[in-house]
Symmetry: C2
């Protein structure tokens, strides 16, 4: 099963499955998507708020499931991450989701859904921009539309021409792309929803974490056997994860070297997907080949039909 | 096997298995321990420093193992937590540790060792003060000495008389005490070193984590099945884990209610063990009965011999 490609005129379902977004930002996002030629269906609880959660778990899960069941909805776009996705995992019906494959897009806290659905429901999901404001960045929009509209055949995924995709460990390898936000990957280890990295290519990014915390999360993955099992790595942006006071800390580069590069698996870094701009759309669960001589990600299968 | 009790004149081995401590503080701690009537043996790498780590993994692990093997050393006291304990887990020999049971004391990042050793090496460890400065607090020292010197028979563990031990969910239950710092319990789930809560009483505390992060860690334990398996809870201090801006967040109390109290298992809170003072010494791996009518923790077995 595979989700059908996005077309102008399609209906995009908007949901807040994690933290609440500023209502004005949601409305601006809706206007923008309409101006691009899409119809919008709002989740019943899109604007709900319960502390740092966008409403109760039950309501967020209901919106999530409704969008998959609703035949009028062609694709599902999250408006914000933050925190809360993992709270609703036990309330989701992965069989219903499996029988209604649809494009699902988001990142950060949404990492949880992207990987669980790719794994349990068996179709490709998309690590990409949120529906509230991210799409108004030109390169971000270009990658989003190009992937979701034209990704019905293999394609090459490159950084924008002025940004290097670095080859840290040279080599060529293949596997499914899995991953996203490192904090959330770590926060689901040991649960029925944990990431499967075996024979896969692990993509990671994060924001606002101190170097020692990045170390702790990578060490968590290491002790869980998740790093040695994968075929290679794509490192995205690590935004605001450095400390100015070097004396007190190992640098982010030292940590990456110690925990990732020491494994000597093909590794790309500086891939533009994460909390910085532009945010390229990366298909989670898609077979890919990473070429760490040329700095290329080759998507080997159709990601939409 | 069980560690032998502490006696005045014994030799305390000091180690830095995680982050480095200020050398002046270590020296003050040593003088204080000597003034109390103990001899001190310093780990070879006690003062090492590699960024946020107290030296290389190999060297920290070597000090850790040496203290267990060294017949001159009667008990082992960590000087600081911070971060780094989990990095050396694969370098430890739990068989050697098992055959050399000794009192081991620390908290925070040291949580990792306390639980792994209680579980893999099968003797009781101690969630208690660090050797650098914590012991100079009167109640902390009193609990430390009393537990390690007199804990060869069952005893009652109470908060200091002016501090309530709250009964949040009433009831009486028994089990081994496991746990410590919530962040570290979460950071080892899904690894061979993860905590075993089955039929046990789970103790948790934390410091400097935002409410949503406490929620995320408790949800992690929940999804990993660790909360429903245990018999009851002891909640320690959650120091600096509240946000002033209520609008943006659920409160810590709301989170505890939602993730812990909703399970309806006997639960005590405000137990004085964690990042606040006084720091009572809690035996990890010891059989206990919590009485959540009277607000008492009854240690049912000798914790030293």
């Amino acid at each position: 099963m595979i989700a059908k490609r996005l077309k102008f005129g399609d209906t995009i379902g908007l949901i807040s499955p994690a933290s609440p977004e500023d209502p004005d930002k949601i409305k601006q996002g809706i206007e923008f998507l309409k101006s691009q030629g899409f119809k919008i269906k709002e989740g019943n609880h899109l604007y709900d708020r319960w502390g740092y959660l966008a409403g109760s778990d039950k309501d967020r899960a209901e919106d999530f499931m409704n969008m998959f069941s609703d035949k009028e909805v062609d694709m599902i776009l999250c408006v914000r991450g933050g925190y809360g996705s993992m709270r609703i995992l036990p309330l989701l019906d992965f069989k219903i989701i499996k029988h209604n494959p649809k494009i699902l897009v988001g990142f950060s806290d949404i990492t949880i859904f992207l990987n669980v659905i790719a794994s349990k429901s068996g179709f490709i999901t998309f690590h990409g921009p949120m529906g509230s404001s991210n799409l108004q960045d030109t390169e971000t929009l270009k990658s989003f539309l190009s992937t979701l509209m034209n990704g019905y055949r293999p394609y090459k995924l490159l950084n924008p021409s002025n940004i290097n995709l670095n080859c840290n460990i040279r080599g060529i390898t293949e596997g499914k792309i899995v991953g996203g936000n490192l904090s959330l990957i770590s926060a689901t280890l040991g649960t029925p929803y944990e990431i499967d990295t075996e024979d896969n290519i692990l993509f990671i990014e994060d924001v606002g974490e101190q170097p020692y915390a990045i170390d702790r999360m990578l060490t968590h993955l290491h002790l869980a056997g998740k790093l040695k099992k994968c075929h290679g790595f794509i490192l995205g942006q690590f935004t605001d994860c450095s400390l100015s006071n070097y004396e007190r800390s190992l640098t982010l580069n030292e940590i990456i070297k110690d925990r990732i590069l020491s494994l000597n698996k093909p590794t790309l870094s500086n891939f533009m997907s994460g909390h910085d701009y532009p945010k390229l759309t990366l298909p989670i669960g898609a077979k890919a080949r990473i070429d760490c001589y040329r700095g290329e990600i080759n998507i080997l299968e159709a990601v939409v039909i």
